[in-house]
């Protein structure tokens, strides 16, 4: 039996009505190990205007590089205080901010470790389907050899790497530019 995936449709302008219940902008529960970071940025359209009716969803591993999901069979500890899920709406100025921990490395193709990264889905009015991207970390030696980052043309890789603000590695800036010369690199993972 082979069916076809249902067609995606935009979240439209009123998604807050249905999706606010699962908003989560602090992913770090009690007793969670690792390096805590605050990641802040804006969602910007092709005219440089903020996108207030946008929302990000986050998926990431814990500081040991372990996903809270049965498919992850690695012999690494899970932490009950860290599920790895976040949902953060943009505000009226297109700004978002969330608190998490820097994930540990997880395996990539052929078992080679991937550089620490956060998977991101971007939803907004005007987007018929989500946009998928990743956040990588600054000053991370593993970025140079990361399989996924290396699929992106070199000039655009910087759009995926968060920047330190005020010289602090625990306060990062990462923006989502939807459209235009400086647009964020987005991935095709299917839907």
């Amino acid at each position: 039996m082979s069916l076809e995936t249902t067609t995606s449709q935009t979240v439209g302008p009123y998604f807050a009505l249905g999706l606010t219940r699962l908003n989560k902008s602090n992913l770090v529960g009690p007793g969670v190990s690792g390096e805590q970071v605050t990641i802040t940025g804006r969602v910007i359209d092709g005219e440089g205007k903020p996108v207030p009716d946008a929302m990000l969803e986050i998926w990431q591993a814990n500081s040991h590089g372990k996903y809270s999901h049965p498919e992850d069979t690695q012999d690494k500890p899970l932490e009950p205080g860290f599920q790895g899920y976040g949902r953060i709406p943009a505000d009226a100025d297109g700004k978002f901010s969330f608190i998490t921990i820097k994930p540990g490395p997880v395996p990539g193709p052929d078992g080679r470790p991937q550089a620490p990264h956060i998977a991101v889905s971007v939803f907004a009015r005007g987007l018929m389907r989500r946009l998928v991207t990743r956040i990588y970390f600054p000053d991370e030696a593993a970025n140079a050899g990361d399989f996924v980052l290396n699929l992106v043309e070199p000039a655009r890789r910087g759009t995926l790497i968060a920047k330190k603000t005020g010289g602090h590695s625990d306060t990062l800036e990462w923006n989502v530019i939807l459209h235009g010369a400086d647009e964020t690199a987005f991935f095709d993972i299917g839907l």
Partner: protein, 241 residues
Amino acid sequence: MTNIAGYRRPHPDTQPNHLHPPYVSSIKRAPTKPLVCMPHTLTEVTGPSFGSKSVDVKACDLTRQHSGEPLGERIIVSGRVLDENGRPVPHTLVEVWQANAAGRYVHKVDQHNAPLDPNFIGCGHILTDSEGRYRMVSIRPGAYPWGNHFNAWRPAHIHFSLFGPVFSTRLVTQMYFPGDPLIPFDPIFNCTADEKARNRLISLFDWDSTIPGNALGYRFDIILAGREATPWEEPRSNGGK
């Protein structure tokens, strides 16, 4: 760990392009550069789950969230969540939101000159059962005007948001009602090239779930990406080394 079996990519044209100029909001928000195709890694074949602890069983009935009954035509929307291989997707979260019977959302941005209903908010959620079934009770949402073009009206629709088992199965869509005369004119409905795929967003009127003397039934099945049988192969570089 060897390579991972990923989830299937959609058939061409069964999913919308990011840019669909008749839907004006897409013009400055759709990416201009091709998406970077990547294999699924452990990141893409894992994802958040929301068990029964995070679900309010009463949230499947949007007509019982207040002391009084909402205005409008009572409906039952039910169906199954399956993957492309025809397997049920059990215990997965379905989030829904919609306008009231007059075509007005409970949202500060919605300034449509139609009344709010003090007995209707228009949001709910359901966990599918062990066979992927879901069922919600609501009222039929109204059509409403929007600013996309002259005399633009959205057909009646209910928004659905589903996670499925992993990050790669995430889906947000809209369900429409059979026979709605606005559907053929709606740029959002029309953003998908494949007509059959588009038409699957229109629910079916369903006698089996219709409750005599109480509510009309509509059936809407939702298909999420299914898993590939074999792992993704890394494309060989030039020279086949």
